[in-house]
Amino acid sequence: MLYGRIILPDVHLRYPLQGELAGLLFISLCRGGDIVPRIGVYICHCGENIAGAVNVEEVRKYAEQLPGVVLARNYLFMCSDPGQELIKQDIRNGLIDRVVVAACTPRTHEPIFRKAVEDGGLNKYLLEMANIRDQDSWPHWQDKEGATEKAKKLVASAVAKATYLEPLEDRFVEVTRASLVVGGGVSGMFAALDLANMGYKVYLVEKNPSVGGNMAKLDKTFPTNDCSACILTPIMVQVGTHPNIELLTYSEVESVEGSVGNFKVKVRKKQTYIDWDKCTGCGDCVNACPAKVPNEFNEGMNNRKAIYIEFPQAVPKRAVVDIEHCLNCAKRVMGTQPRIHSKTGEPILAPCEKACKTGACDRSRAYNPEGELIELNVGTIIIATGYKVMDKEPFKEYSPQSPNVITAMQLERILSATGPTDGQLKRPSDGEKPKTIAFISCVGSRDKRFHTYCSKVCCMYMLKEARLIKEKYPNINIYIFFIDVRTGGKDFEEYYNYCRNLGIRMLRGRVGAVDELPGDRLRVRAFDVDLGAPVELEADLVVLATAIEPAPALEELGRKMGITCGSEGFLKELHTKLYPVETSVKGIYIAGCAQGPKDIPESVSQARAASSAAAVPLTLGKVIVEPLISEVNQRKCSGCGTCVQLCPYSAISLVEDKGKLHSKIDEALCAGCGICAAACPSGVITLHGFTNTQIFAQIKALAS
C-alpha cells in the first residue's frame, strides 16, 4: 500500500490513501475547499532557439487566461539562475502551487526545474514541462505562426495535466556493490581494472577463451608505433590476477533482469571440455591434436587445432576443445570410457589425453555440452563488446577470390611476429615478398550498400601498416588510394606527414576495380583526381581497409538489456555530447567500439569514463528511484494476470490474499513504462505521474 503524502503550501498532511484516490482527494480538497490549483506558467525564450520561431509574448498572454493559471511569465533563459529564481520566489510568495515550464526537453532540464520547485518549497513532482523547443520551434522553424499556435496547444496540455498533478515521494534502493563488464578487449579491461582498483567486485565476461580482444591481433599501434602486445599483455595479466576481478572468459551474457543497483545477470560459461583448474597452458595437447581448423585469431590465414590455446599471450592461458571440429581420435567421444587394448590391457586414449600431464584433458568425463549457467548480482553494468572488421567477400569489384587481396586486419596478422608468417612479409599466394602494394580505403565505409559512416581508424591504420613496411623495406612501392585522408587526432597529422616523406604515394580517388591478371598479378584501376586522369597499377598485394562493424549479436545483447542500437547498428548513448557513456537504461554504461568506431586512445578514455560513471551508484550505496511507477488497486484487481505476462521487467506477480488472486507490483523492479496500466481490463492500475485523469486532461486540451 502506498501512502500518498499530500503537501499543500503551508499545510502538510499525511493520509494513508491508495493510488489515484489519494491524488483525487487531494484535488477535490483543492477544488472543493478554498484552495484551488494555482498554476504558474514560465515560458523560456532559450535565446533565439524558441523565440526565433515562437511568439513568446503571444503564448504568455494565452497561458495567462487558461483555467487554473494565476500567472504566466517569460524569460530569456529559464534554466539560468535568475530564471529559476523567478519560480522559487513565486512559490515562496505563496502565489503558485503548481509549475509549468514551457522550454526545452525534460530529458536534460527536468532535474533542474524539479530542484527549483523543491527549493521553493513544493513537492518536486508538482512540475510539468512543455517541450516547445525540440518538439516545436526547431522542427517548425520555417512556420512561425504555426509554431506559435502549437506552443499554445502544448502549454495548454501541460497546464491541464498540472491541474491533476499529485505530490510523490522518491524511493531509495540499496545497491549491490559489484559491477559487470561485458567484453574483455582493451576497453572492457580498463573499465574492469578501474572499478576493481576502486575496491569494487567486478565480473568480466568475455566470449573468447582469452581476454585481449581485437587489440591483441594488432602488430603495432598508431601514432607511436608501440608494439600492441607489449602494451596490452601487462594489462591482460593485471586483469587476470586482480583480486577484485572475477574473470569469466569463454562465457556469454544470457539474460539481464532488474534495474540500477540490483541487476540479476545470467551468464553462460561455455563448455571448454578441459578442467581449467588442472590445465597449465603447456600446449602439449595442442601439439598432439591432428585436426585442422581455420584460425580465427589469424583471420583464417592458417590453421589451428581442434584443441587450442587462442594465442601465445592468452590470459587465462588455458586450452579449450572446439567440439564441432574435434575428430574424436581413437573413437574417444566425450563422456565415454576408453576401449581397452586387447594385448596390453591398457586403455586406448586420444592423442590429446595421452599428451596431457596434469589430467586436465580427460575425455571420460561427462561434460554438459551446454556448459554452466551462473547468476550474478551486480549494481551496474558496462558494455564493451567491441567491433568486428568486415571481411572482403562482399566486394566483388576488388577480386576477393584472389588470395593476394587481403583485409588490413589480415595484413596486421602477417606483420605480427605471432602471425601466420612469423612476421615475415609474405603474400598469401606464393609466400613471395611483394614489390608493389596497393591500399584501398573506405571499403564498406561511406558506402550506402554497407555502412554510411566513416570507420574513423582506417586512414591511420593504413598509414601505419604502410609505414611499417616502408621503413623495413624502402624499395617496396606503396600506393594508398583514398577519398579523404582523415587524420584528426593528437599527433596524427604529423604521422601522416612522416609517411608522405617516406615516399608512400597517396592517390585521391576510390578504386573502381581490382582485376586478376595471369601469374598472380593484380591490376588496380582508379581515377587520380589530382591528375584528372584514369590510372592503373600492377600490384602484387592489395590491402582492403574494410569497415569496422558492430560486434555480432550486439543488437540482441542490447535488447536483453533494454538498450537500442542506432541505424548504423552500434549501441546508442544517452546524449552524444553530455552523456556519452550512459545509456537510456540507468545503471548500464557503454565503452569502446560498442558505441561506435574508435581508436585505442579514445576507447581507453571512454572505458575509464564509463567506469567512473558506473562507480557512482556503487559509491553512494543507494540510488534514488523516481516514484513514477505503477500501483495496483488490489481490492478491485480481478487477478486475471494480463499485466503479469506483459511486464517487460518481470515486476508483477500474482499473489493470493484471503483466497483471492490479485497482482502485486515490485516497486524495485517497476520501471514505470505503463504497459500494465494501459492493458489492465479493469482499469485499476495507476501509473503515477501519468494517471488516466492526467493523460485524458492533456488529450482534451490538445484536441480543443
Binding site: V485, R505, L531, P534
Partner: protein, 184 residues
C-alpha cells in the same frame, strides 16, 4: 599533351619512374614530399587559368607518381610566368615554383624543351635578355629613352661577365646553344 588527351589516356602507374621524385628534390624541389595536394597553389596559378595540362599542383602529383614521360611530352612547365604566387601562398612551404624550375632542369637534361625556349636561352647568352626587341631602338628614341637599355646591351663588359658566368653553368655542358668565348 592537350587537355583532351590528358582525360583520354590511361596513366600506367606501374611504369612510373620512382627516381624522379629524388631527382627533383636534388635539383631544387627539396620540399616536394610535404605537398598534400590541397590545390591552393593551383587556385592562384596563371597556368591553370590559361588551361595548361600541368600546372603547379599537377606537376607535383605527376612527379610524386613518377610520370617522367608525361611531363617531358608536355610543354606546360615552360609556360610558367615565374610570378611566384604559389610559393607565397603555399601553406606547407612546398615552394611549387621551385619544383617547376627543378622539372625544367630535368627536362633540359633530356633536351625536352620547346624551340622558343632555346631561342630565349640563345638571346640570354647573346644579349643578356631572354626576350630582346632589337628593333625597338627608334620607339625608345621617340619617347625620350636611350636607343639601348642601360643593361648588358649597352655595356659589353657586363655582357662578357654574364657570358662567363653562363659558361660555368650546366648549360655549357649540355651544348643546347653555341657558347663560344668571344674572340677565341
Amino acid at each position: 599533351m592537350t587537355n583532351e588527351q590528358a582525360v583520354a589516356d590511361i596513366i600506367n602507374l606501374s611504369e612510373g619512374d620512382s627516381s624522379l621524385a629524388n631527382e627533383i628534390r636534388e635539383l631544387g624541389g627539396e620540399e616536394l614530399l610535404e605537398c598534400i595536394q590541397c590545390a591552393k597553389c593551383a587556385a592562384a596559378c596563371p597556368l591553370a587559368l590559361a588551361g595548361f595540362s600541368f600546372f603547379n599542383k599537377r606537376v607535383i602529383q605527376a612527379v610524386l607518381m613518377g610520370l617522367r614521360d608525361a611531363l617531358l611530352d608536355d610543354s606546360s612547365i615552360w609556360a610558367c610566368q615565374s610570378c611566384n604566387r604559389c610559393t607565397e601562398i603555399c601553406p606547407r612551404e612546398v615552394n611549387p615554383f621551385e619544383i617547376i624550375q627543378a622539372m625544367r632542369r630535368v627536362a633540359i637534361r633530356e633536351f625536352a624543351l620547346p624551340t622558343l625556349s632555346i631561342e630565349g636561352l640563345k638571346s640570354l647568352y647573346d644579349t643578356g635578355h631572354a626576350v630582346y626587341l632589337a628593333g625597338a631602338g627608334n620607339t625608345r628614341n621617340k619617347v625620350g629613352l636611350p636607343e639601348k637599355p642601360p643593361s648588358t646591351v649597352a655595356n659589353p663588359e657586363a655582357l662578357k661577365e654574364l657570358q662567363a658566368i653562363l659558361r660555368k653553368t650546366a648549360l655549357a655542358e649540355l651544348g643546347i646553344i653555341p657558347m663560344e668565348e668571344p674572340g677565341v
